[in-house]
Amino acid sequence: MIPLSYYLIVSAILFALGTAGVFLRRNLITILLSIEIMLNAVNLTFVAFGRYAGDVNGQIIVFFVITVAAAEAAVGLALVIALFRTRESLNPDAFTTLNW
Amino acid sequence: MDLKFIIELAIIGLTFFMLINASAILVLAERKIMGFMQQRYGPYLVGPHGALQPLADILKLLFKEELRPKGADKWLFTLAPILSVTAAFAAFSTVPWGAETTFFGLLSEPVKLGVTDINVGLLVIFAITSMGVYGIVLAGWASNSKYSLFGGLRASAQMISYELSYATSLAAVILLAGSLSLRDVVDSQNVYWLGFIPRWYIFLQPLGFIIYMIAGVAETNRAPFDFPEAEQELVAGYNTEYSSVRFALFPQAEYINMATMSAVATDLYLGGWHGVPFLENLGLGWLIFLAKVGVILFAYIWTRWTLPRYRYDQLMHFGWKFLLPASVINLLVTAALFLYLNG
């Protein structure tokens, strides 16, 4: 039986990688992908705790997190497309000036 | 390393071998049936009545030159056919093709005929079929050519649109069978009404069967939904720039997808290996299974050479505005009747 802390460490490393991606990457799509990595790490935490507590609610929450992540990815990508049309660039530093 | 383990490994190898042979036989069958429908003989020269034609085709393809366009993405160009064919083979893993058998008493405990059987087997097939979309969209993108890109985008948009109707018609069958495992779905069709009419789900769900077959044809990019690879419109769609082995993998993936869809349709709607109690008691249920799969594959090929092709916007309109509401209504009516009759 794999101890619970092993799964939590994997999840923490993945969350840290996702956070590093959000901070360090200069491409809007890669930032959205890093957010998906973070959500995935949280899913792993929920399922691990649900398994080790014998509770099925861990999986139910993951179900809802996946659904919300799908909706958020769709709207986020639509926003990226709309932004790209105005500035022709995917670098978030190109959007620092508000209205020009 | 007891005998049962070795026999299970042998069954896995046999399934893989059967799938490869299926794609070869389908190449020949398609051309022969197409020929007979067009009032000519198909391939006739290689082997007796053209029976060795697939072998000649494969040898020709293997000896061709391996091309890669200059601007093509090096890794993705090779990865795309590998993804397609891997997803095609892997999707057959949870499809059972025979009852449990002890091989006429050779084994002490029965072994199931099929690669594996897990409790969410039907969804695994669906998940791996969704992975097949990547092969096509990457092939379209990595070729760095406009015909390929159009073909790839259209094919993948079509596949993900028809996946919805596919899944909803599956959900109605799962409701009736009470389990997500394909083996349980087949075994729940082993009941006979009036002694001889089997409880196949094609009788209980005729609309669901039609929706599943249409969605299956669209999922495998076969006519009349094969606009993305239409020879007349798009050169060859997403596999324009491919040659030799990489090209050979794409039609092979398509034929194996066809075989998987037919096998799943047989398991879900036509009772799998049940239906002829005489042969089943002899342990030859898999023959019945093969016969049914053959009938559905013939229907695939028949449809291709009979119906004209859908235009792309007509295709998407049909999938979203007609097939998806039909499958949802099918699910609702099935659920309502199930609740009324059993609740």
Binding site: P3, L17, N43, A71, I81, L90 | L76, F126, I128, I160
Partner: protein, 177 residues
Amino acid sequence: MAETFAFYLFSGLAIVTSAFVIGQRNPMYSVLLLVASFGAMAGLFIQLDAPFLAVALMIVYAGAIMVLFLFVVMLLNAPTEDALQYDRTHPLRHPVVTRFGALLAGVLVIQLAYALLRANELRVPISGRADGTAVSSVAELGRVLFQRHVFAFEATSILILVAMVGAVVLARKESDS
């Protein structure tokens, strides 16, 4: 034995592919590596007795959302970007900022390591069912989902509808009229 091997394989694959996702310059490769990461995550879910969630993850995330990402990358013809280290005047490269960030990261890692290593003491099942079989049945999942969480379920259906309409409206080109 096979269980530990499977765990190390899947978690190693997930971490390595996620590291490559954030380190890769070409967004197309990032999307494909993330699909591989989701595959590894599905393997971990199966080990945690959640097979339905594993296939649901593959179907929804890797089969639909990542295809959406791939479409957007191809539509926008997203260029490969310059990495942060090539831009020496970026405000995130200021020495005070980087040192403070490194300090905070170190504190966070120590805190997390301490908390995670203490998580092994959580051996007493909270709700009284310590076996895995009750958790992994799809029927049980459906029962709890549709009886206790039915309001959240209906709310997510409205959420998806709103997101769909919003995405179509936001990504639409301005019409000429």
